[in-house]
């Protein structure tokens, strides 16, 4: 067992099991399902239009077929655990695009810069808002740009930078 059950933060060995290979992430957007526990829950599997998410049973953690996943992000706001993110490392520049669920006020607007927070809520850099889309059930899906080396680290935004 990793330290996840004591900290609430996925440990490196947990991430190793769920993250796609780097070459896949470089090919274009892909969903990262940070859901490794047995939870009786299945909406993600129904949300996926290309059938890339599979639940062997209601409680088994979801499995992602990264070759099928298009990184569309339809599963993000559907996930009751807010545990799904989309990472896009395709751009030639130094920036990666991240899609994250967000449920706080004020609602970020495109062009604004926020602190980029890691899984422990610590600021690790900046996040530029590319888009903020309110989805069904009032969860907003933010598309933010962060430095490429932070793509698998950043999972939230913090204070707005001036």
């Amino acid at each position: 067992m990793s330290s996840y059950g004591e900290t609430g933060v996925l440990a490196p060995e947990d991430l190793e099991k769920i993250l796609p290979r780097e070459e896949r992430s470089r090919r274009g957007p892909v969903a990262i399902l940070e859901c490794i526990e047995k939870i009786p829950c299945d909406p993600c599997a129904y949300a996926c239009r290309v059938g890339a998410i599979r639940k062997r049973s209601l409680v088994d953690p979801p499995e992602v077929d990264y070759d099928k996943c298009t990184g569309c992000g339809e599963c993000i706001a559907i996930c009751p655990g807010l545990a799904i993110f989309v990472v896009d490392l395709k751009s030639k520049g130094n920036e990666a695009l991240l899609m994250i669920p967000y449920e706080f006020l004020p609602k970020p607007k495109s062009g604004e810069i926020y602190e980029a927070l890691n899984r422990e809520g610590e600021p690790v850099g900046n996040a530029r808002i590319i888009a903020a889309r309110e989805m069904e059930g009032r969860t907003t899906v933010l598309t933010v740009a962060v430095k490429k080396d932070l793509a698998m680290v950043v999972r939230n935004i913090g204070r707005r930078m001036r």
Binding site: E6, T7, G8, E37, P40, C41, L58, G81, A83, R138
Partner: protein
């Protein structure tokens, strides 16, 4: 209390608070603005009132605690009526609210204007939460006459404050917020043609033709209900934790805080400590941040986070520390909590003095478990057992949710501390069983039962349900021994 203070949330990322027209209420003669649809306690809290009562002997101040009419912290005198539960009593224009003097005085009978009524029905459901509503809807749709009573101003139980999206299967409300599920159930209740009474407390089980209950509505209407079958879905009450000054205003049950914050849209505090990292503590932590409260930390006495780790991850990435093997050891404050002391626990669960730290908070949410509200069942004469896996003293029942008293059923948290999704399934099972028991043995009834049992089993397949399953097997065996 300040003339201009208004702690209401007028904007929220997820919830819309529908407030009625403004009315004036009077606390010891001082006018306070309230909104129709609010409870007295919520309206007072919104204007900055933190003390609702004082203990009889030492006159210690008491805040609200549970917010759902189950503790007695918020009893006040309202329009001359003593001991009114202000947390479940709606405001009315010109209402006069006073602090209780000593033990309170009974009003003269002539002032009480009591009305009486008698009702006969096939099925009486006590408690309009997820279990009770599901039971009532299921049984009514199968052709039974159903009356449901609930002591809150609105049916829905704890669903009405669950602003997060639910886990579960897609066909059973998964990814829908609890607040929205409550609305769906309410619509189903209306189309199912169930008679429902709100602000109505079942106060006792009496001798009668069959199952005879006394119900008091709006503190002035006595309704005697005689039912062929009784379904008790009274839910649970929040547990207290023992530590010095645990009764200071500002220290509330986590569910009580949810009620004030998510049902009535009142900001419960500025800086919060959460005690308990089960699902309730973790979810309330997230919801407090949505309401603009600074959550300082979550402490959890056991070595592991008890709730789903994705809920923990949500508040961790907001920067909230979760300290396992830590607990609250004391609270301090002048009439209201100002400081909470937390400390690490050693291997034998004793606080380590050198690790004590005081944190400045004006809100402490206790999320340390629940206890089934079984009183009515025990008073009716159902046999009981202490089953720690189910949350304490419960009525012995079988897989069909029938107790040892013929025709009396249970569903939801009163039968085992679990969650709203399983409560809804148990409600459907109880509702179908009772309907069939009354002769509505249709294929639809049978299908509903079989399907709900299957869904319940699927929900209980997670590691979190192991404890409940063990406890359920215990009570089922006890039931077989008794019958």
């Amino acid at each position: 209390m300040h003339e201009s203070l208004d702690l209401r949330l007028w904007r929220h990322p997820i919830l819309d608070f529908e407030r009625g027209k403004p009315v004036g209420i009077y606390l010891n003669g001082e006018r306070i603005v309230a909104y129709e649809g609010e409870t007295i306690a919520a309206a007072l809290y919104a204007s900055g009132v933190k003390v609702y009562s004082r203990t009889v002997k030492y006159r210690r101040p008491r805040g609200f605690f549970c917010g759902i009419g189950k503790c007695s912290s918020c009893l006040m005198r309202v329009d001359g009526m003593p001991h009114v539960r202000t947390c479940i009593t709606p405001v009315k224009n010109d209402m006069k609210i006073e602090y209780e003097k000593d033990l309170g005085e009974t009003p003269a009978t002539s002032e009480m204007n009591v009305e009486e009524e008698e009702i006969e029905t096939d099925i009486l459901v006590v408690g309009g939460g997820p279990a009770g509503l599901s039971a009532a809807i299921t049984a009514a749709n199968l052709g039974a006459n159903v009356v449901i009573v609930d002591e809150n101003p609105e049916p829905g139980g704890q669903l009405t404050k669950q602003s997060h999206k639910f886990f579960g299967s897609k066909e059973n409300y998964a990814s829908i917020r609890g607040t929205e599920i409550a609305k769906i159930l309410l619509r189903d209740l209306q189309t199912a043609n169930v008679d429902w009474l709100v602000n109505a407390s079942a106060i006792g089980y009496y001798e009668g033709k069959k199952h005879h209950l006394a119900v008091v509505q709006n503190n002035q209407r006595l309704i005697e209900i005689d039912a062929e079958r009784l379904i008790v879905a009274t839910g649970a009450r929040e547990n207290m934790l023992a530590f010095p000054n645990n009764d200071l205003p500002g220290i509330y049950g986590a569910g009580g805080v949810q009620t004030v914050m998510n049902v009535y849209g009142v900001k419960p505090g500025n800086d919060a400590l959460i005690v308990g990292a089960g699902n309730v503590g973790l979810i309330v932590g997230y919801q407090l941040i949505q309401a603009g409260v600074n959550v300082r930390m979550v402490v959890e006495a056991t070595p592991k986070i008890g709730g789903y780790h994705v809920h923990a991850a949500k508040i961790r990435r907001l920067g909230v520390p979760i300290l396992t093997r830590h607990t609250i050891t004391a609270a301090e404050g002048d009439g209201h909590v100002e400081t909470a002391t937390v400390a690490r626990l050693d291997e034998s669960w004793q606080p380590v003095k050198s690790t004590e730290q005081g944190i400045h908070v004006d809100l402490v949410c206790l999320a340390v478990g629940l206890t089934p509200s079984s009183e009515l069942l025990f008073q009716a004469g159902c046999e009981q057992a202490y089953v720690p896996e189910l949350g304490g003293q419960v009525a012995i029942h079988n897989e069909d949710l029938e107790t040892t008293l013929d025709g009396v059923y249970v569903a939801g948290d009163v039968s085992a501390i679990e969650e709203a999704s399983t409560a809804m399934m148990e409600g459907r099972i109880a509702g179908a069983n009772v309907a069939m028991d009354l002769g509505k043995k249709t294929s639809v009834a049978e299908e509903t039962k079989v399907k709900s049992l299957k869904d319940l089993e699927a929900l209980r397949a997670s590691a979190f349900s192991e404890k409940v399953q063990k406890g359920k097997k215990k009570v089922w065996n006890l039931w077989r021994e008794k019958n």
